[in-house]
Symmetry: none
């Protein structure tokens, strides 16, 4: 929770929207307001929203519809507000991919706790940073220069990476020591869904290994997990 998280509250009733925003602000969160789905979409475009609190029942575009849209196009977590304890709504909401829901009338303290819980979970997964400044990640005998899209060895030799190689390496470096399936890798690198017989990731891994491994036949950095995927098996340290 580096800079205070940015919450977007979407509800058509001002009597709910505004006191809630104030309560959140008093507790260390930034709150943006939207009275309908259109306003919400605008706010999402113009601000770096970390989480959306979304009323299901709204005039115009439905909350569920907006939630579905969010889930399809972004990773931003969503907490649904539902008017009543209606099982159907709740189940549908969860199945659509909402991260949580709260029934009205709600206890603000509980909503805050849920927001924090969801943020904690969402943050443990490092979000792609729009941080435009160049970053430098050290791993094994290399330093990845994200600005120049190349790796520099301890001896100062720079090896350029293609875009696919660069993306794949970045994905690995942000999630070291974790087994990533081909599905996940494909999703994280190109946003694509895996085809049935998709070997493109294998190929990219192979190409990347040829560039970063000392002995590509016995890889030390990118390990194969038989039947599971690949894992980056070294420490990664950001350079100031």
């Amino acid at each position: 929770m580096d800079p205070s998280p940015h919450i977007l509250v979407v509800d058509d009733e001002r009597e709910i929207r505004e006191p809630l925003a104030k309560y959140l602000a008093r507790n260390g969160l930034r709150a943006d307001l939207a009275a309908n789905a259109a306003e919400a979409r605008a706010a999402l475009k113009n601000s770096a929203i970390d989480l959306v609190v979304l009323d299901i029942m709204m005039p115009g575009e439905d909350g569920l519809s907006l939630c579905r849209h969010l889930r399809e196009t972004t990773d931003i977590p969503v907490i649904l507000l539902t008017a009543m304890a209606d099982d159907t709504d709740r189940v549908v909401g969860l199945e659509i991919g909402a991260d949580d829901y709260v029934t009205k009338p709600f206890n603000p303290r509980e909503l805050l706790a849920r927001i924090k819980a969801v943020l904690r979970r969402a943050q443990s997964v490092p979000r792609p940073r729009d941080d435009s400044g160049g970053e430098r990640l050290m791993f094994g005998p290399w330093v990845l220069d994200t600005d120049r899209q190349e790796i520099v060895g301890v001896d100062g030799v720079a090896v350029p990476l293609s875009t696919a190689e660069f993306r794949l390496l970045t994905v690995f470096l942000r999630r070291p020591r974790i087994v990533l399936s081909r599905d996940q890798l494909l999703d994280l690198t190109s946003g694509r869904a895996a085809d049935v017989f998709d070997r493109s990731i294998d190929n990219q891994v192979s190409r990347l290994r040829r560039k970063i491994e000392e002995d590509p036949k016995n890889p030390a950095l990118i390990k194969t997990v038989w039947g599971g995927g690949y894992m980056f098996a070294a420490d990664v340290e950001p350079l100031t």
Copy 2:
């Protein structure tokens, strides 16, 4: 969700515990049962649990206490069951770090949806292990290098391990001098449930013995427990 996820249901009331387990099993999940916190801790040690459904109110150790313990020592997601819609309980649970909660009496379909939602989140991108850095475990005449997935003998010779061999050895080294059944081994290594006539573990043990035992015919490290399973019969020491 390759191997069906493994859910641990912890509740002191059999009338809740067992029907729930059956319902989960009917819907493609494996369910383990525990009637109290002690049983739960045992199950967590001996099975690869993916998620815990935990009653708050239990005789003996409290559900909240167990939840806190889980959050401190593992990443296993927790869904709390609370007897009534008591705001305090819910907030405390979420603040402790539960991933969700459901109030009794609950709708099984809703609980299932929540379980799937939490699993989906937990799986979408696994969290980095906080225990970063390769670990080195010494046993018998070998040192296991978890970074390189290989064992190094006293003479400095390195023997590479396959994925399955590495996982099996790791499972043994983390539970030395304990008899592990084939079921448990299969679960802990591949998350799979044992088939009726499953000899894959026997085979893996055999292969592993050929690599680590001085005399594979008279194994000194991995002992066979007739009718019970296998046991790792040597001391294991972590190397700095």
